[in-house]
């Protein structure tokens, strides 16, 4: 099945012994000039790349306090060394967060600190060489920016910030990653990551309306570009066609329908994802975020709701107001933006939705906290709402819910292995190995609680699991969307399901 060894799932997680260089060969395809230039980056490695890289590093050090403080503060205590899923899955010491940071830090020390300029050997400072650049390209594309290390670091050093800076430096010298940069270019030209044009989108949504009507007998609409709608739904484009994403989209539509609100999708902002974050580019992230503002203004909506997408929710919750705000033209009674889980949760709290949980009785469900939701954003107006709200939505729609091991959920959650701009086939080995800690935790609830399905609220997690579950002896359809569970259990007013239920109970 694979041209590499799939790690064995152990009974209890074991911290592996170091095996140097096991992942040194791993590197994604380099972006061609046609994917670099639309983003404002040089098409290929520039001649004076060393100077450009050092200048860029200096520029970023002046712009980001995180980078400056994080590069200075590490004491090599080792608290993070066993926290990264890529280290746990590959045993490559350069996948320990501190060692990954050190790849950048040793160059920072050499060019920007007194100790590194005059006593490089003492503090482990090195010149920027081609080998160092190659190491950067390899290992900063073995970080999914999941921030698990930042939870455990006594100074809160976040390797995601370091890897974003490193990727930005590499983009500046013309050594960008194909997967991310190609996708960003597509968003600028077509409006979404998948390059799905407006007519295809309209067709898809129409098809989904027919499917729902066939299933329930109710005309649930999935409107596109409808001016004057109350709510703009911004959702990852995977929701428009791929399993299990699309079942989630039908779930959102049913919830909106039952809530009696008018809503619309925008063909201009037909993508929640914002890969500008993965490459650390404020400018590109802002440009992508501005599409949402423009779409909201053009359509005259009052609220913005985001679909199930992890990093998109980070950009939405934590950055959107800053990047593309102020959103004073929207209804001030609602947070900008809202998560679909918040929306559904509120309706559940108000008893406005009816569920028939037994529709999901063939499933015993666990929940995978997606890293960008868990450690980089929130939900509700409460600390930790991002852990409570999706679980409450799941529990409202199915009878059998079980959590995984405490050190693998909430803010200790393990990345799916494919986040941070690594969800590409050229990194398959890394993705499979990086999924190991999550797969081990899943295996335990499968064995102990008979769990059959893993629910998630992130398009990247869903795609990644669909791909890697089979490597570990599971099946790809074991990953489900949270709103897929909602979709199956919700009882629409006037539906065949309602008639059947009420006929039975009366």
């Amino acid at each position: 099945m694979a041209d590499f060894d799939v790690p064995e799932l152990k009974e209890y997680p074991i911290i592996p012994k170091l095996k140097e260089g096991t992942m040194a060969h791993s590197a994604p395809y380099i972006a061609a000039s046609k994917f670099q230039e639309p983003l404002g980056f040089p098409g290929e490695l520039v001649d004076n790349w060393k100077e450009v890289a050092i200048d860029k590093m200096g520029d970023l050090l002046g712009k980001y306090r995180s980078l400056q403080v994080f590069l200075d503060s590490c004491v090599h205590c080792g608290a993070c060394t066993d926290k990264c899923h890529y280290y746990l899955g590959t045993s490559d010491p350069k996948n320990m967060p501190v060692a990954r940071q050190e790849l950048l830090r040793k160059v920072y020390r050499r060019y920007f600190t007194f100790a590194g300029k005059y006593f490089p050997k003492l503090v482990g400072a090195t010149d920027l060489t081609e080998d160092v650049l190659d190491d950067w390209y390899s290992y900063f594309h073995q970080c999914s920016q999941c921030r698990r290390c930042s939870v455990f670091c006594p100074y809160g050093i976040d390797t995601a910030e370091i890897s974003m800076a490193a990727r930005e430096i590499m983009d500046a010298v013309g050594k960008g990653q194909k997967y991310c940069n190609e996708i960003i270019a597509k968003v600028f030209v077509i409006g979404n990551n998948l390059g799905l044009p407006e007519p295809a989108l309209a067709d898809t949504l129409e098809g989904l309306e027919e499917d729902i009507e066939e299933d329930t007998g109710v005309k649930v609409r999935l409107p596109l570009d409808e001016k004057g709608a109350d709510i703009l739904l911004v959702t990852p484009s995977a929701d428009f066609f791929a399993e299990p994403h699309v079942d989630g989209l039908m779930g959102y539509a049913k919830v909106f329908h039952e809530a009696g609100v008018s809503w619309t999708i925008s063909s201009k902002a037909s993508e929640a994802a914002n890969f500008g974050m993965f490459i650390g580019s404020y400018e590109n992230m802002r440009k992508i975020a501005l599409r949402i503002r423009e779409a909201a203004l053009e359509l005259g909506v009052k609220r913005i709701v985001f679909g199930e997408c992890g990093h998109a929710w980070r950009v939405a919750y934590s950055f959107l107001n800053t990047l593309a705000g102020p959103f004073d033209f929207l209804d001030p009674r609602y947070p900008v933006p809202q998560h679909i889980c918040e929306f559904t949760y509120d309706l559940i709290q108000e008893n406005k939705l009816r569920f028939n949980k037994s529709e999901n009785d063939h499933m015993r469900v666990t929940f995978h906290d997606s890293c960008n939701v868990a450690r980089a954003s929130g939900m509700g107006k409460m600390e930790g709402g991002q852990f409570i709200i999706p679980r409450e939505v799941i529990k409202a729609s199915c009878n059998h819910f079980f959590d995984m091991e405490p050190d693998s959920i909430h803010d200790s959650t393990f990345c799916c292995g494919g986040g941070g701009g690594l969800l590409t086939d050229d990194l398959m080995e890394l993705r499979v190995k990086g999924a190991l800690p999550r797969m081990e935790a899943l295996k335990r609830v499968v064995e102990e609680n008979g769990v059959t399905n893993l629910a998630a609220i992130c398009a990247i997690c869903k795609s990644q699991f669909a791909k890697v579950l089979p490597y570990y002896g599971f099946t790809m359809d074991q990953i489900v969307s949270v709103h897929q569970l909602v979709s199956s259990a919700i009882v629409l007013k006037g539906s065949e399901q309602e008639a059947e239920l009420d006929g039975k109970t009366e």
Binding site: K63, C77, G78, A376
Partner: protein, 245 residues
Amino acid sequence: MSLVTTLYVGLFYLATLVLVVGLTLRIVKYAKTPAPLKIPTMPAPLTEAGVARRMFREVVFFESLFRASKWTWIFGWLFHFGLLLVLLRHLRYFTEPVWFWVNWIQPFGKYAAFAMLAGLLGLWARRFLVDRVRYISTPSDHLMLALLVGIALSGLGMAYLVHTDIVAVKGFFLGLMYFSPQPLPADPLLLVHLGLVVALMLVFPFSKLLHAPGVFFSPTRNQNDNSRERRHIAGWAEQLEAGER
């Protein structure tokens, strides 16, 4: 004034200058560098008061380290709080009359030196025994531990084995503070102790010891969770926006 006294007077003035100026410059740099996006490690406190509590737990209890590694936590905490007590106890050599609370902690301060040493040795052992920590250790990591262990051992040596003329030492430091240098006893152990302290002061602003001010400026720990309510725009980002208009 003896050569030794002159040398140590000069060293302490230099070290103090380097420490204060170096650290101030660094702190000003941290404070002035913008944090353009809200990046607290979530879940984060909603309010500023909550952030103060989070920072307090981090700095006083090493909360995150406790979650990460119990061994590193216990050694690290022993060392840092041993050091704190020892430093506070040493205030008696810089104050006349000695502040009342410094007298209170005097008995604890003396034993804290053992805790400090135990913590340091534990942390050092990890650099040899744990393969992951061994891999990330640089020569300066070992030297820093050697320096601190040297300070602790020479101090303990004077407290329990070879006493020095502590009244004269106090006279020396009060003299430094009031710019009227007094002779320093030329006991080898004392000179080693003070020499290492000078070295520590000198390297502080240029080394990983910057983690001390750094933690207070760490955006993942010092930001609250209110990004949906408040814009958090940096100066350079505003200029970027202005340039587009």
